[in-house]
Symmetry: C4
Subunit: 242 residues, 4 copies
């Protein structure tokens, strides 16, 4: 069992890396779940300075969205996090982001398919939540949960993405991959018809190459880069797979 302090530190680090990579800013929030205490640790809401988050900034809430300590309310879309943490045992970490490229698949009429070997982790596809609202109530959280099903990620129309995983390392790596595959698809489309990997190819690749191990490597890599970052907005962003 990870301690509260460990979870708080991992969550702050994960969010600072997202800020460095240009994947979180004015809006967006990330959470991690402690199943033994049924506590969700979530980042502060809109307007907070993600690039400078510390462990002590994280907000603990229960599964009804109520802060368990302190007076700071969670982000208004907290039901995204509680719905997933309460109902999926493989969703111990959740990010709700408005990443520039993946969001385009919630704007253009085009299904997302993996176009890189790393993207094969999304071989099962990424469903689309079509409602034109923020997920601000448990009812909307349930509707979101029904749409994502047991998928690793969700697209939200004209809005952003939700990514779930067994750890913050998995959520970080999967979010970076989703963004990278979305960007490459958009750019490749200018060159000609885009070829994506088949469901079979995705399964074969992922049977051979362990996702959790790769995610941990990515976590170590980006943590190190982040520790060298000047933490100024707009600097530090690097491509995932150059």
């Amino acid at each position: 069992m990870a301690t509260e302090q460990e979870l708080r530190e991992q969550l702050a680090t994960c969010t600072r890396i997202f800020a460095m990579q240009g994947l979180i800013g004015l809006f967006g929030h990330v959470s991690v779940f402690q199943p033994e205490t049924k506590t969700v640790f979530v980042t502060p809401g809109s307007g907070s300075d993600k690039a400078h988050f510390m462990a002590s900034d994280m907000i603990p809430i229960d599964l009804t969205g109520k802060p368990t300590t302190g007076q700071i309310p969670p982000p208004v879309e907290w039901p995204i996090h509680t719905a997933l943490h309460a109902h999926r045992t493989d969703a111990l970490a959740v990010a709700h982001l408005h990443t520039p490229y993946a969001t385009l698949f919630g704007i253009a009429k085009r299904e997302f398919h993996p176009v890189t070997l790393q993207g094969t982790v999304f071989g099962e596809g990424v469903p689309l939540y079509k409602e034109a609202h923020l997920v601000t109530t448990p009812q909307r959280g349930d509707a979101m949960l029904k749409t994502i099903g047991d998928h690793r990620a969700l697209l939200m129309r004209g809005h952003g993405i939700v990514v779930a995983g067994k750890s913050l390392a998995e959520v970080l790596f999967a979010s970076l991959i989703l963004e990278d595959d979305a960007k490459k698809t958009m750019q490749a489309a200018a060159l000609g018809p885009v070829e994506h990997f088949s469901a079979d190819e995705c399964k074969t690749f992922n049977a051979e190459i362990d996702f959790e191990r790769r995610a941990n490597r990515a976590w170590e890599f980006f943590s190190r880069i982040e520790s060298q970052w000047d933490h100024q907005g707009g600097t530090g962003k690097i491509e995932l797979f150059p």
Copy 2:
């Protein structure tokens, strides 16, 4: 009533944020109106260093474009500002910018429609001013005023944009949103047909989520980021909605 010093400081801050975000540079100007004295405070014209503006750099003019103190002339397109401040009580702040992406809608033959939930604030559309000149006379200012009508923003053919609002915070946030939606539309178009929000969806969303409150949150966020900026050209720019 906001004091002159408060207005000057807000105007300088707003313009430095625009500079940080890459939305103002060689050209472009921003203004704020003090209705009690009918004074327009406007930023200096072409060539001035927007990234380093201070409150004392702001130029006060009357509604005929005449400086009320000092000898520094306002930007040559001052009639954009005076036309809006004089005739629209909801236009207490005005920006004339040449933002890279929104300007594309004044080049390609395509109407602007909101593609993100935040973009729904432009659900009424953004009209296009077609004349191939700068707005350097009160007559042209009137023509511009007639085209924008009671809209929040205006596109100018092969030129740039005008954004009006009840406060500099609103103008800042609306300009950032317009730019972000323009960019996302261009990028999504590479993926397939682009789906925009309907007028009804726009109304429903904005009835639920208060624009002024969001604009103030964005102001606080970007002010904080700007205060950490190294003020070097080309650094500091971050995506609006990652």
Copy 3:
């Protein structure tokens, strides 16, 4: 008559600004002509560090490409400069660059047309030099001269651009405009059919707004920004017309 030292300093400044803007790097060179002495001052050739040029780095050559002092040879494509300086009295400054966006018009089969009000300075069009070689001999220089005619700029197939002007300020501003219009055309094309300004609109706009005055304003603006630049490759670049 500008002194040699003045010309050397202006040339070094102009080239450092091009480096800051990402428009010169490994290759590319800029020159200025002193008609009284028929001396061409040109920047060093491939591999030199443009971001740190000083007045003393500039190479003086005569109209046959021979260094008038020192042993450092000019760039191998020196005939571009001597051909223009010798035969066009309005070409007192010349840049040969490989700018990322304008060069695309030497790759795609599409004529360049101005799409912004500032771009109207290219209302006469920009011809294309089609030969698949570097301009390394006086004969090729003459062929280049014949193709550019009395135009302000030239596109070179799969290669780059040549821009000529009455001063380095004009060459700087015109190059930035050409690049900006090329970029905007490419981006707008993703949105729909692109509308460019007609020859008549170009003439009318330029009769009203003085190019030389704008070019000098741009020179002052970018000189000031450059003096604040950290001179690290890849930093400092800003959009021309935000």
Copy 4:
């Protein structure tokens, strides 16, 4: 014969330049061969910090992938390097990268053709390796070798590139060119049909302009820029041919 220390230093420098240019990051590796001792020096594998590599970080392996000193294993795709070093005498240096633009030609159904004069070095084309796996065994290394044949570079479907050359300077310059031509092709395609250089034009250009000499110039240029880099991720990247 280059000493081990010289090869180690060149390899570290080359990789730091790739990191500065955004062409290597989480994954990717580069190698250089010492034919007299049949030793391959290769960079550490996934997760290592390429921007800070020193000569002492380089891993020596034999042609069966076994470290000749130390316990640190080579990257899992070491067979890419050993296959080329063992069988092609003109492959004294090899890079396996996941460069953002060239990789698009392994996603879109479109053959790569050179569109710039510098790109003519790829006039013989760039073959595509279609297997959906990493090259982690000697058998896969042989299949890769068969596909690349005697070409200078290889595209790998949904994955990345391999570039081989007589020196690290050649591999660096060729990789930068391949990336630049891929980017320009994608961007030019938005403007209209793209015209590439014919095989004959490629031959003629390269007969006149020496590739090795240009590669050495590029090496000197980028080494100097890299020595001034702040080594922060996401800064320092410059266009190859502005």
